[in-house]
Structures are given as C-alpha cells and as structure tokens.
Amino acid sequence: MSIAILLLTLTLGAYFIAVIEGWAVHGRFSLTRPALSAVALFGRESLLARTPDRLFFEAAPVLLLVAGLLAVAVIPLAPGLIIADLATGALFLNAALAYVLVALIMAGWGPNGGYAMIGGWRFLGQFIAYAMLIVMPITAVAMRAESLSTTMIVTSQADLWNVFYQPLGFVLFVLAAMGLAWLPPLDLPNAPGDLAGGVEAEYTGVRLAVLRLARMVIILALAGAIVTFYLGGWLGPWLPGWAWSVIKMLVVTTVMLTTGRLVPRVREADLLAAGWKLGIPLALANIFLVGVIALVVDI
C-alpha cells in the first residue's frame, strides 16, 4: 500500500519538476504544458535511425528510468514511508545512479549519428569529473551516521543537519548531482547550443517521452538524496514528516534547475580540471574534517 502511495507521490513530484523546468527554460509558469507535451508525444512517430545499435538505442531510456526508480526507492519520505529500507541504502543509491552513465553512453552510441555519439562520450568525461564527488561526501555522511541506511542517516541529523555539519560536502554533492542529472551548466551530453540536442536528439515520440520521464525521476532522486543526506529528510517542526520531505525536495529542485542557467555551459576541460584539482582535494579534506569532528564531538 505504501508503495502505491510512494509511486503516486513520485509521479506528482516528477510532474512538478517538469513544470519547474518549463518555467526555467521558457520563462512561463504553466501547469498544463508538461501534460500536453506528454500526450502530444504519444501521437508522434517514434523514429529509428538507419543503422542503429538497436539494443542500445531501445535500452537506454528504459535503463535510465529503471536507474532513477531504483534510486528513488531508497529515499525515505517519512519514517517507514520508503519503498525499500535497505541497510546499505546510500551505497545502493550510488550504484543505481551509476547506470545513468551506462544509459547515456548507450543512447549516444545507439543511433549511429554524429551529435549523439559526441554527446555520449562527453558525458563519460563529465562522469569522470563528478563520480568521486558523489561518493566521497556520502562517505562523510555515513561516517557521522555510522550506517549506510538512508533512514539512519536522517535520524542521525536530529541535532544538527549535515548541511551545517559538513557544508563542504554539501556544496560538492549538489554540484556533482547537477552533473549526474546533466542539468545546465553541466549539460554537456545534450547541449542545445553545441550539439543540437546531442544524446536526446535522435529520440522521438514515445521513446522521448520515456527519456524525459526518466530524467525527471533522476532529478527527483537526486533532490531526495540531497534532502536525505544533508537537509534532514523529514525532520522539522509542526508539519508531518512527509510534508517536510516534499517541501524540501521541491526547494532543492527549484534551486538546481534555476541557478544553473545563470552561468554559461562549462567547458569539458574546465569541468574535469575543477573536479580533480579542486574537487577531490576538497572532498578528501571534508572526509578528514568530518573524521576528526566525529571522534571529538558526540553529535
């Protein structure tokens, strides 16, 4: 039963993310536009390129959706309101989101087209930049909570949210999450200005609908991860836990979708250099700092 509630919440959340993204891109807040687009996409032809890698081309949107849903499955909306409360939830989240890379490379390789292939390989470069910055902050969070279970991580923040305890990790994790969901300014695989749609360009019709849905779910999963790991999950006064979770996730999503578009698209060389020369040392410093504090202080 709760699984059904959660999936319904997930659908509504994904829809709201689509509304917010439409507002960020077009400057107009329209509650019905995503529904219209989805219905219209069903009526459009779903084309297949002439010499595709059929398996890769078909599997990529599905894999993306599966990865997103598996990641959402370990996000707690309230104590007990979680699809699968794994003891290794944080690790499972990271493992599920690693398939985003596989799916995008498959989407890039599949249609045998120039723009898509370049987009796919650019995403691999982006992955090498952000992957460590997803894992290392999670490690620091797990150190405080003494557990990888997402529920335990939230309850460990009862005294102080991780965003104040580990601000460095928070910043790195948010930036890496934007890279993972290929949100601007890190939208190298589907850059509209560089690659005219890139990996998404060859998908049309219902396949494109699945791809866009999958992307919304991934953004939702990442917002949920940020809220769970750093913003105290369901913790908060007056309102019930799930309301706080939803509100926080919407705020995080809005921030991720809007602030990124104020900055020009990051060059791949700059992204990799920043990730490895600045990001990794900072993440290691974060782990070290949290390690010292966790031993000394008891919260």
Partner: protein, 122 residues
C-alpha cells in the same frame, strides 16, 4: 514493510520488472495509435539540414584518459571506504589513521599525476 534484505531486494526486482512492463505498455499504446512511416531521408540522423549517412562508430579520440586512469584507482579506494565509514566511529582514532594513510598515498598519486600532466585535456 519487509525487513529482510532478501525481501527488500525482491521488492526492488519487482519494481524493475514493473517499470520495464510499464514502458512496454506505453510503447504498445503508441503503436496502437499509429504506425511509423518509413520515408526517404527520415531515418538519417538529423544533422542541421545536411544528410550525413556515414557511420560514426569509429575509435573515438577521448581526451580525458589521464583523468580516467586516476579515476580507476580512486574508485577502488571508495569501495573500501564504504564499510570503513560505517564502523569508523566505533573504531576511533585507529580507523582515522589507517584510512588516512591509504588516502594520503592515493593523494600523493594524484599529485604525481598532476605534476606529470595527466590532469589536462590531452
């Protein structure tokens, strides 16, 4: 809620299969609405108004292989850090020192790679 790990993984497997089934249903609905028409030029990947029919499955010259090699070593390290982070507080200072040494060695490797020019667009 299932408490056993196996039960939870069964739920996740069910979720996966359900998703695949859902997507197949969507595809079936789209197919029932109308079929795709094959026309000349339509199946060539869209490239801004010119037709590019040549295959692009070639050896791609990725420029980030320096980063990729370092990434492999750090990824192996992170596999060790997951269980370490869970027992860290219980183990105390010893845990910090042990992993600190490990991380320091890897960090030195990163610095060495940086000095040799691995961390740049090749």
């Amino acid at each position: 809620m299932e408490n056993s790990a196996l039960g939870q993984y069964a739920i996740l497997l069910g979720l996966t299969l359900g998703t695949v089934g859902f997507v197949l249903c969507l595809y079936a609905v789209a197919r029932a609405i109308a079929r795709t028409r094959a026309e000349p030029g339509k199946d060539v990947p869209a490239t801004a108004g010119s037709l590019a029919r040549d295959p692009v499955w070639v050896r791609y010259h990725a420029r980030y292989y320096g980063y990729a090699l370092l990434f492999l070593s750090f990824d192996m390290e992170m596999a060790f850090m997951y269980p370490w982070s869970v027992v860290y507080r219980k183990e105390g200072l010893v845990a910090l020192l042990d992993m600190g040494v490990f991380l320091a060695i890897l960090f030195l490797g990163l610095l060495y790679g940086w000095s040799q020019g691995a961390l740049r667009r090749q």
